[in-house]
Symmetry: C2
DNA sequence: GGACCTTTGTGTCAAAAATACACTTTGCGA
DNA sequence: TCGCAAAGTGTATTTTTGACACAAAGGTCC
């Protein structure tokens, strides 16, 4: 419990955010395009930055996210801490750090966060203050800066687990949505096929959806019914304890 | 992404460990007894300490745990990062920090870990190198140092969630155990009553237990059968994917 | 306008799992 | 030998899962 001279770490802390969105077809993640120092390639990273002194972790994550993407008031859930001593040691990463950080050699431990947003709520501005934050379909994401790939994978795993415990995913959809869209969303997150009829049966039995009068228009096939999410019933359900949300 | 002068945090990082054990009756947590500075009261805390430079987080957690309790090679799972700026601000905590730390005012962000051990594997030595680490039944734990109560609660929540996804808990029991003991363990972790017959049926159907010839002796009632955990079958099961571990 | 394409939307049956529930057995101690 | 305490066991009912195929609606294209 005593200080160990010259052994202790005096690192920096950052927050990195994995923001999931759904374009009614595929699951996407909001990534920052960075220019490499040579200025040729671009180079993708999670929105993240160092946190301030006296700033709570959650607050920092929200601030950083807002600064880099413009997103505001997002409920962020923690993925965990990522602190490998060599997590910043790839050559590309080192170059970037040297160009940008006061103390590029400092160890940085990052706290990963994730969230879900409706993609309509965030349309990246072509060349705005948000330095080229863009939605990338999750299957097209390859390597990322630092250990961000690992953070992303951790976030996706937590998201899957969470989906089996409580019905989420409503944040990822527009206010009015069809059951097919919700169905595709579940398949996109879980990465498996789900039987259409069984999915509908189970989802409707939860009794957290309200069917609207409105239907799709202008589609070259049978128009589908719109539904909306009933928050009241959802919260009641959470309180009375839940089971059976797994697919 | 640029450094923000004088705003950045240069905090310290610690690791705190929540170690669960089971005495065949109640769930226990391994806590450190600290003397308060006044030397009268004792004062309980999770085993934890600052991490070293260039030390991976998981390694640090294991080292710290070993230094404080003597436990070795424990598989630790992360609970998350706890970094409230005022998490060290209770008067008792401040006094302790002043007495013990070089820089008692530094902000400390801690990474919480948890694990399960068989209580036989760790019998606290009365006044040994392990500075009074003791098992405390979980219902008797009140306030703890810093935000350790919060870390403990987080760890217990994760443990419950995990128990519903995969059958664990074998680490918490002696090598040979009875189904009643396992039953009590599940009830202790989940905090609910489970029907005896249904519990047995389900547990046996998983086919990861082996019944031994041996039976209890010297008990003033029908002696129960001993079982042991079959690791081979368990790992096979994990690979083929699992469902139905929930109670 | 008719053929065609695409997606929506719906029901049943069988198998598996969950739940509720009570009495007999065993061994020790008095 | 009686009583006590915990172990161990089976069944009937309900609920949930999983597999599976075809009609309905609306646009497009000729």
């Amino acid at each position: 419990m005593h200080d160990k001279m010259n052994h202790e770490l005096n690192p920096r802390i950052s927050a990195d955010c994995v923001i999931f969105g759904f374009d009614l077809n595929k699951l996407n993640v909001l990534l920052i395009e960075r220019e490499t120092v040579v200025g040729l390639d671009t180079y993708k990273a999670l929105p993240g930055d160092l946190i301030f002194e006296d700033e709570p972790l959650d607050t920092a994550a929200n601030r950083v996210l807002n600064e880099l993407t413009g997103l505001e008031d997002i409920y962020l859930e923690q993925v965990g801490a990522f602190g490998d001593p060599d997590r910043l040691s790839k050559p590309q990463d080192r170059a970037w750090l040297k160009a940008v950080r006061q103390d590029p050699d400092a160890r940085v431990i990052t706290i990963g966060y994730y969230s879900l947003v409706g993609m309509n709520n965030y349309v990246p501005q072509p060349a705005s203050f948000a330095r080229a934050a863009t939605w990338i379909p999750i299957e097209e994401i390859g390597e990322l800066a630092f250990d961000h790939r690992q953070i992303l994978d951790g976030a996706l795993k937590k998201l899957k687990e969470k989906l089996n415990v409580q019905p989420i995913g409503f944040n990822l959809l527009p206010e009015k949505f069809t059951l097919s869209q919700l169905h595709r969303l579940y398949e996109a997150i879980l990465g498996v096929e789900l039987d259409k009829r069984n999915f509908r049966r189970k989802m409707l039995k939860m009794d957290i959806l309200e069917s609207l009068e409105e239907r799709q228009e202008g589609v070259p096939h049978k128009p589908s019914q719109f539904y909306k999410f009933n928050e009241q019933k959802y919260h009641d359900l959470l309180k009375t304890g839940f089971d059976n949300f797994a697919f």
